[in-house]
């Protein structure tokens, strides 16, 4: 996250510097559309990044400025002097804030409300306050021109070749051992240096992906949706520059997906879908490209609405309607289009997609859409592999060497191995590898080079391409090597079987094979049953509930504990457990934590301990052994009285006691820990786990303890949609409602976070 922040700061600073000219020009001529657009893009980008980085103040400022500028762009407001001044004040403020963040200094937010208010129509002109010059922190990173890195890389390759040449010549001559040693040393240094230089350009795409789960969660929560995100291929390495270019488009697309694509839980239920929307983000290398795929299972692109929007904006509706379905989908790339009627905080006003496309195309990439009305939208971003370093396996066919991306290879087996069987079926060959039947492709045949191989000594590389797997027969597997792949000449790429060319240390050019292209060329067709997978996964998630660890307790009873509080299970020596200061304590990792046990601890050399954590404190719980991880059913028969057991549940037709972690922490947790002072908030209502999923984490972050156990003596009850009645007598109640609007009954809309926390705080204080 720190890296991202640094990049954001550097980028914003640079853009601001570049923008200062535009700002002055716009001030001089407020009617200048190009300047207006430049400033609009700036605040829009800042807004997007702020959401990503959780910088609420900047987000508020930039959003406000964006609103006003959008109004100007739409011709709803005139860019008068007051407005220009107000916008410029906001832009200045953004610059100050960024400097303050960089310096780690605070900047009081007085005046920000004024700045935002000044943007409103008919407000007074803002008086520019001369801000105290913020201290500029010493830069921790340097921004380099990528050209420079390119030159460094190219010089590096020359150096490697020169070293190879040198060592070749020395091999043919009588050489002083000292010269040889010096050459060795140089070789090692060159190798190291090459590695470093290479890394300066490469970055795992994880740098981009790691922040996504949080962003998805927050975005979804703010919209009252529930979205699970799955991320694959985070280890794919990509040119740093590409990663930077991909960042904003990815954020835009994901936000659009959550905001426009995935429906509300109610709509999803009505459409017969799972309530949880699903979003998957995956990166993979395919041929000479890196493909980033963002797929959701929402409603797809609403072409009808797109056409209406564009028609309203003065386009020829008949022409639009006569477009092919695909072309209609592509209408989302039209500039200045919002596919949602309401402008929302989240995805803004649809500047997204056209900006996304132009950003990707600038680096020679492409954006493809695959929209299935009612089923979901899949967006494929393809960017070229140029200068990407990829790990490869070097294989030989008919005496020539080829590189295969290691990512594509599942395993390599020798054809003479006993576990491999190769059969001829009609004109084709099929390899059976451990019960998997795979089509077999002979590399030399595909390439049309003399395939005169003795089958006993060939190797099979099991290659996985997006849709399926096949066995690629090669003469030999020689090496693995990390290679800088560059696109080959068009005439070579046109063969469809190569992904690029490279110059390995040997100094002999080598071709990188395109495994997908070879499969296509060989006529392999994989039937990929996406639907079946979907259903399978649906069945899995259908049962989604609270997961619990089932274990055998010291007294022999089967008990369960919610998995969320189990940090880990550990074996400890008996002498790590002591009675000290009036209770059982466990020494572990250099700390002492309280230990709960259902009977005396004695008689064994080691004990299994569950380490339970509530985020603040930690306790141990001694068990006999862990049994299983199971999903808790919805019905829990509560225990009669508060105690270590919260209640009983039926697991596999067997009653299992469920531990009450809350009670355990209250009883055994360290005194003076937060849990003693934080008000306990009881959540009630909302059948689908909404309270647990959304409210609980939020409250815990805000310093509350949370329980769902209605028998707990809560300090305050948070009730959704009238579920409060049963508890009304015991504790003050804050009521939430699912529906937006219809205020007046004292309840709070459930996504009004500030009001919710405010109400809770005032109740908690009042007790």
């Amino acid at each position: 996250m720190d890296d991202l922040l640094q990049e954001f700061i550097a980028e914003t600073r640079e853009t601001l510097e570049a923008l200062s000219g535009e700002i002055v020009a716009w001030e001089a001529n407020p009617g200048d559309r190009a300047r207006l657009d430049a400033i609009f893009r700036f605040v829009h980008t800042v807004k997007g990044s702020c959401g990503f980085l959780d910088l609420p103040r900047l987000a508020r400022l930039s959003h406000a400025a964006e609103d006003v500028l959008a109004a100007v762009r739409a011709g709803e407001r005139a860019p008068d002097r007051a407005l220009v001044n107000a916008v410029l004040a906001v832009v200045d403020r953004i610059g100050e804030l960024v400097e303050a963040i960089d310096a780690g200094a605070g900047l009081d937010d007085s005046g920000e409300d004024l700045l935002i208010a000044a943007l409103a129509e008919g407000s007074e002109e803002v008086v520019q306050v001369a801000a105290p010059a913020a201290q500029r922190a010493a830069a921790r990173s340097v921004r380099l021109n990528v050209d420079l890195l390119d030159r460094m890389m190219s010089g590096m390759s020359d150096m490697v070749l020169a070293r190879n040449e040198l060592s070749r010549r020395l091999r043919n001559a009588e050489v002083d051992p000292q010269v040889e040693a010096a050459l060795e040393r140089m070789s090692a240094t060159v190798a190291d240096l090459r590695d470093t230089v290479t890394r300066t350009r490469m970055q795992k795409i994880d740098a981009l992906f790691s922040a996504l789960p949080r962003m998805v969660r927050d975005t979804a929560a703010s919209l009252g949706k529930s979205v699970t995100v799955q991320i694959d291929g985070a280890e794919v390495e990509l040119d740093r520059e590409m990663i930077e270019v991909l960042r904003d488009p990815l954020v835009h697309i994901i936000r659009n997906s959550i905001d426009h694509g995935i429906e509300s839980p109610e709509d999803r239920r009505a459409a017969g879908k799972r309530e949880h929307g699903r979003l998957s983000v995956a990166a993979r290398q395919s041929g000479n490209q890196i493909v980033v795929e963002i797929a959701d299972d929402g409603r797809g692109i609403d072409t009808e609405r797109l056409i209406r929007k564009l028609a309203d904006a003065g386009r020829d509706e008949r022409a639009l309607r006569s477009l092919s379905e695909r072309a209609k989908h592509d209408l989302v790339f039209e500039p200045g289009l919002s596919s949602k009627d309401e402008v929302s905080e989240v995805s803004g006003r649809g500047v997204g997609m056209d900006v996304v496309r132009s950003a990707i195309e600038q680096i020679g990439g492409r954006v493809d859409l695959d929209s299935q009305p009612g089923k979901g939208l899949r967006i494929l971003i393809r960017v070229p592999l140029t200068l990407s370093i990829i790990p490869t396996i070097v294989v030989a066919a008919a005496g020539q060497r080829f590189a295969v991306p290691r990512q594509a290879i599942e395993e390599i087996v020798s054809e003479s191995s006993d576990s491999i069987r190769v059969d001829r079926i009609g004109s084709a060959e099929v390899a059976t590898v451990r019960d998997r039947r795979l089509p077999l492709v002979e590399l030399a045949d595909v390439l049309g080079i003399g395939g005169n191989v003795c089958p006993m000594h060939t190797m099979l590389a099991i290659v996985s391409v997006g849709e399926g797997s096949y066995a690629l027969r090669v003469d030999d597997v020689l090496d693995n090597e990390e290679l800088v792949i560059k696109p080959a000449a068009p005439a070579i790429m046109a063969t469809g079987v190569y992904a690029g060319q490279t110059l390995p240390d040997s100094g002999r050019p080598m071709l990188l094979l395109d495994c997908g292209g070879i499969a296509r060329d060989a006529g392999l067709q994989f039937v990929h049953d996406v639907l079946a997978e979907e259903i399978e996964e649906a069945a899995e998630t259908e049962a989604e509930g609270v997961q619990a660890l089932v274990f055998i307790d010291l007294d022999g009873a089967r008990r369960a504990v919610p998995l969320g509080v189990v940090d880990r299970i550990e074996q400890v020596d008996a002498d790590a457990i002591r009675h000290a200061a009036g209770r059982l304590r466990l020494t572990i990792d250099g700390r002492i934590i309280p230990l709960a046990a259902r009977r005396d601890i004695a008689g064994a050399a080691t004990w299994s301990i569950l380490r339970l954590k509530d985020g603040v404190s930690e306790i141990g719980y001694a068990i006999a052994e862990a049994a299983d991880i199971m999903t808790l059913p919805a019905e829990i028969v509560p225990a009669g009285a508060p105690g270590p057991i919260a209640g009983a549940v039926l697991l596999d037709d067997e009653p299992v006691e469920l531990l009450d972690p809350h009670w355990l922490f209250a009883e055994h947790g360290e005194d003076g820990a937060n849990s003693e002072v934080a008000p306990l908030c009881l959540l009630t209502g909302g059948e689908d786990g909404w309270m647990r999923t959304f409210v609980q984490p939020m409250l815990e972050t805000a310093g509350y303890r949370v329980t769902l156990d209605s028998s707990a003596s809560a300090d305050v009850v948070l009730a959704l949609d009238g579920a409060a009645e049963a508890h009304a007598a015991r504790a003050p109640v804050v009521r939430l409602r699912s529906a937006r609007g219809c205020e007046g009954d004292g309840s709070i809309w459930r996504y009004d976070r500030d009001a919710l926390l405010g109400a809770l705080a005032s109740v908690a204080r009042g007790k």
Binding site: S157, Q400, G448, I449, A489, P490, A491, L503, P509
Partner: protein
């Protein structure tokens, strides 16, 4: 009419003139690695310092039976890719005046495509060719 610099090279037993602005360098090509399945005039790949260049069989590209053993090549750059066009020999670089092709010279199709005019060296007419026309285009470009 302005004089332009031309490189006079020998291909398929005759002299041709190549605009010096198209020539990045003139090199001796080492080992050529074959590119299976690539079209007829792609001889393969060769390393040129830290770069990989695509080696073009110039004779084949001019529509004649290829198979030349030349190791000298003219390096040119087309659409960001480097190509080495094999030539038999190189004479010199000198300024010439580019004249239009005399009408009615019956050139074969490949020569026709490459030819851009004539230069005259001591009374001997030499065909000036455009190297770009000898580089095989991707199908998309050809379309």
């Amino acid at each position: 009419m302005m004089d332009r610099l031309f490189l006079i090279a020998h291909v398929a037993g005759q002299a041709v003139a190549i605009g010096a602005d198209q020539v990045e360098s003139v090199v001796d090509i080492g080992t050529i690695v074959a590119v299976p399945r690539a079209g007829g005039h792609v001889r393969g790949l060769a390393a040129l310092r830290s770069r990989v260049v695509t080696v073009i069989d110039t004779v084949a590209a001019l529509g004649m039976t290829g198979g030349q053993d030349a190791s000298r090549a003219v390096i040119t750059r087309v659409d960001g890719h480097h190509y080495a066009l094999l030539v038999d020999a190189l004479d010199d670089v000198a300024p010439f005046v580019l004249q239009p092709l005399a009408s009615g010279v019956p050139l074969s199709e490949a020569w026709q495509r490459a030819g851009i005019g004539l230069v005259e060296r001591d009374g001997e007419p030499i065909l000036a060719i455009d190297l770009t026309a000898l580089v095989p285009a991707s199908p998309a470009q050809a379309a």
